[in-house]
Amino acid sequence: MRRGVLLLVLFAVLMGFFAVGLTLNPREVPSPLIGKPAPVFSLPRLDGAVQTFAPQDMLGQVWLLNVWASWCAPCRQEHSLLVELSKTRLVPILGLDYKDQRNDGLEWLHEAGDPYTLSVSDIQGRVSVDYGVYGVPETFVIDKKGIIRFKQIGVITQEILQTTILPLVKELNG
């Protein structure tokens, strides 16, 4: 009798897990870099300027690092949102062009608009690996001290922007 009741309890617990499980995404990979300093790198700028860019250059500001590519179809969905966001000047957006030829990247920005303060070119994708990138688009929120505070996996929707990203930016700005 006791054994049976124990089984029932375990079964109920299992059902509970399954129910919660239905709300989760088993394919999403959460970032282990949250709360850690943004990995350093020095990449050439996309606009052909001789300079390179490093994340240290942004210390003292809260900023977004958006990983994109000209060949990425979903990126188009969030691109107009980013262009709008850049116009509000609420937060600087920097782009990381992932595994793209320079010309393709430049052409795409020319076509669709350039929301980025600047973009860097990660042709081999090595820097993106350092950031734990496994798909495009992905976006990081980095604070004044250069610590990664949030990672958006996938397209940024208006909802995510309003409920998660912008409030966080506001908070980090003090």
Partner: protein, 672 residues
């Protein structure tokens, strides 16, 4: 027209299922013979309508009716006929209909092969199966209807996934489902026994052949899936501990435990409560597997396209069926202990150990498959559980089970003698140890794992043969041939199945221990030597298939100067879906497979990247499974299941005691 007919057929089947699922059970509780007698005709009618619906869906695929959404999503006009039929179960809705059709077929079989069952029991068994069918039919009609029209109709279909355009797709799902669904019969018998409050050896005798046949199908289904993956995926793997594979392995493990537990209940009247619980567990795992695969809750190469509403429905159904049966179990299971008395050293104990080990093995697979979900739900991070975990934890649990399995037939019921047992086991132990240690040392290739595998296989094989010999000798004077004939099919079934396990172990051990692979760049006329075989590449040519174009390579294989095989691996591109596929070429042999697959072309010279595998004894893996399944078939066809139930007699206490005592004596006699 036809889709609408299919739809209506499903609706009518549902109506009959509801009747079948409610009135007979209530009738059995109230002793209402009319209501109980509704079970058979309702089940038969349901079968007719479901077959009609299934037939309609097949017709739609065969005639390329792309006005039906499901057909358009899974088929194409250039798809060869046999794959158009297989495509019927290529997606979620159709495979559900297949599930339901097979459930109905099993139910129909129960109506046919149940002459001797008392009417209340039959009413309850069919009733439970009717309730399950109600669940699946409602699910289909509400959330997964394969007959939904597509407006406007598609010009052509999106084609069946090229990976499914294969012989494997024709056989693997139906055979697998025959097993999965078949456990519903044992489940129904268990629930019927709980409802009726009568749990006796007779119930076990009725349940046992149904369980064995379902187990047989599940064994074959899993083996088919494994073999298919082996030759299709291109890198010779045959088991990946993928969530869906695990979902089929769990009911198999519990089903095996159930089969053995039923044996004890039938013969000794013991373990009744335990057997009932196992029957509930086996089918619950089948249902849970259905849930896991279709809800999107786990990632898998097999997962169907998902929709949260579907997940919720199946979860609810799972909760009702399993939760309901567990509640019934707690409430109604008899408070009997383990049954007849037995010593610590006895076959009963050994079988209990077998059950324990199989259940712990099931728990390993269960934990490994669901742990990522558990942690993620508790926000404790995200982990992966893959083959390294399963191989480390599963194997040490199964190995003792295999050791005990071989001892089982040799050890007496009730009370075994340690000295006698040791005497019987010693020769096999020595021979097995010798075989395990010597050959690998000879080949200069010793490995602990390989030795363990050889030891186990030899242990099982020698003990199984020794038992047969002792049985032939023991029954007094007589021609050995006649002795062989007098042993029951049940016994031979067990022998064959256990030997099948030994064959399986050899296959796994030797292929993992001694397989070799070479990744080479081959120009025309280049050669590679693997083991004693010389592979010569003769270039590749373009070929056209019914719905694909391919580069087909030509590989000549020679050994000792003679041509052994000519292999033609392909790299295909399917026109409709633009999906590339690698078709490996395999030379199947009793003692080894030679496996060749093309990599990427090396553009300039007609050279190709080629991967060549030498896989010793790999077909013994599936050969062992086939032997196991044959053993099951043999056991299920044993004479005593085909005997007509004579007449039921009520015994007085004296008679009952006499019967029990007689059977105990007879068993001791039989073991001498």
């Amino acid at each position: 027209m036809i889709p609408e007919i299919g739809n209506i057929a499903l609706l009518l089947a549902l109506a009959l299922a509801v009747i079948q699922g409610t009135l007979p059970i209530v009738g059995a509780a109230r002793g209402n013979a009319t209501w109980m007698s509704l079970a058979r005709p309702a089940a038969e009618g349901q079968f007719v309508f479901i077959v009609l619906a299934f037939g309609s869906l097949i017709y739609l695929f065969v005639t390329n009716d792309f006005s039906v959404g499901y057909v358009a999503a899974n088929s194409n006009s250039s798809l060869p006929l046999r794959y158009r039929v297989a495509a019927v179960w290529g997606g979620h809705e159709g495979s559900l209909l297949l599930w339901t059709t097979i459930l109905s077929a099993w139910t129909f079989a129960v109506t046919r092969f149940s002459r001797g069952l008392p009417s209340e029991m039959l009413a309850r068994v069919l009733g439970v199966m009717g309730l399950i069918s109600t669940g699946f039919l409602s699910f289909m009609l509400l959330l997964s209807n394969p007959f939904v029209r597509l407006l406007p109709p598609a010009m052509d279909g999106r084609d069946l996934n090229p990976q499914l355009q294969d012989l494997g797709m024709i056989f693997h799902p139906p055979v697998l489902y025959m097993g999965y669904v078949g456990f519903s019969v044992a489940f129904a018998f268990a629930i019927a026994a709980l409802l009726g409050g009568k749990l006796d050896a007779a119930w076990a005798r009725w349940s046992r052949p149904w369980t064995t046949v379902a187990w047989m199908f599940l064994t074959l289904g899993i083996a088919l899936g494994s073999g298919w993956a082996y030759y299709m995926l291109g890198w010779g793997g045959w088991w990946f501990w993928d969530a869906v594979e695990n979902a089929s392995l769990m009911p198999w493990l519990v089903g095996t435990a159930l089969m053995h537990s039923l044996a004890v209940t039938e013969k000794r009247g013991s373990f009744k409560t335990w057997t009932v619980l196992l029957a509930i567990l086996a089918f619950s795992l089948s249902l849970m597997g259905t849930f896991l695969v279709r809800s999107g809750i786990l990632t898998s190469v097999h997962a169907f396209a998902t929709d949260p509403k579907r997940g919720i429905f199946i979860l609810g159904f799972l909760g009702v069926v399993c939760g309901g049966s567990l509640i019934l179990f707690v409430w109604r299971s008899p408070k009997v202990g383990l049954g007849g008395k037995f010593e610590l050293l006895s076959r009963e104990t050994l079988l209990l150990c077998n059950n324990l080990l199989l259940l712990v093995a099931t728990a390993v697979v269960f934990l490994g498959t669901l742990y990522p979900l558990f942690l993620d739900a508790l926000k404790l991070g995200k982990v992966s559980v893959g083959p390294p975990y399963f191989e480390t934890v599963f194997v040490p649990v199964i190995v003792p089970a295999l050791v005990l399995m071989a001892i089982g037939p040799m050890i007496r019921w009730k009370q075994a003698n340690l000295a006698e047992l040791a005497r019987k086991l010693m020769p096999s132990g020595i021979v097995s140890l010798a075989l395990a240690l010597l050959p690998p040392l000879f080949l200069g290739n010793w490995s602990g794992k390989v030795s363990m595998g050889i030891f186990l296989a030899a242990w099982i094989a020698t003990l199984t043969v020794a038992d047969l010999r002792s049985k032939i000798r023991s029954h007094g004077a007589g021609v050995p041939g006649a002795k062989l004939a007098s042993l029951s099919r049940s016994y031979y079934g067990m022998l064959l199945a256990h030997l099948g396990v030994a064959v399986f172990v050899i296959g796994v051990t030797l292929v993992k221990g001694y397989e070799t692979v070479k990744d080479v760049r081959m120009d025309i006329d280049d050669t590679v030597t693997v083991d004693a075989y010389i592979f010569t590449f003769k270039g590749a040519e373009q070929v056209r298939g019914p719905n694909y174009v391919a580069e087909r390579g030509l590989m000549e294989v020679n050994k000792d100067g003679k041509r052994v095989a000519t292999l033609r691996p392909e790299k295909r591109l399917y026109t409709a879906s633009r999906m590339p596929m690698t078709e490996a070429a395999i030379d199947v042999g009793l003692l080894r497979d030679l496996y060749v697959s093309l990599g990427n072309p090396i553009t300039t010279s007609g050279a190709w990247e080629v991967r060549i595998y030498y896989k010793p004894f790999v077909d013994w893996i599936w050969g062992g499974c086939i032997l196991m399944a044959l053993g099951g078939l043999l056991a299920a066809s044993d004479r005593r299941y085909r005997m007509r139930w004579r007449h039921r007699v009520e015994f007085d206490k004296t008679e009952r005691n006499a019967l029990i005592a007689a059977s105990q004596v007879a068993i001791v006699e039989a073991q001498r």
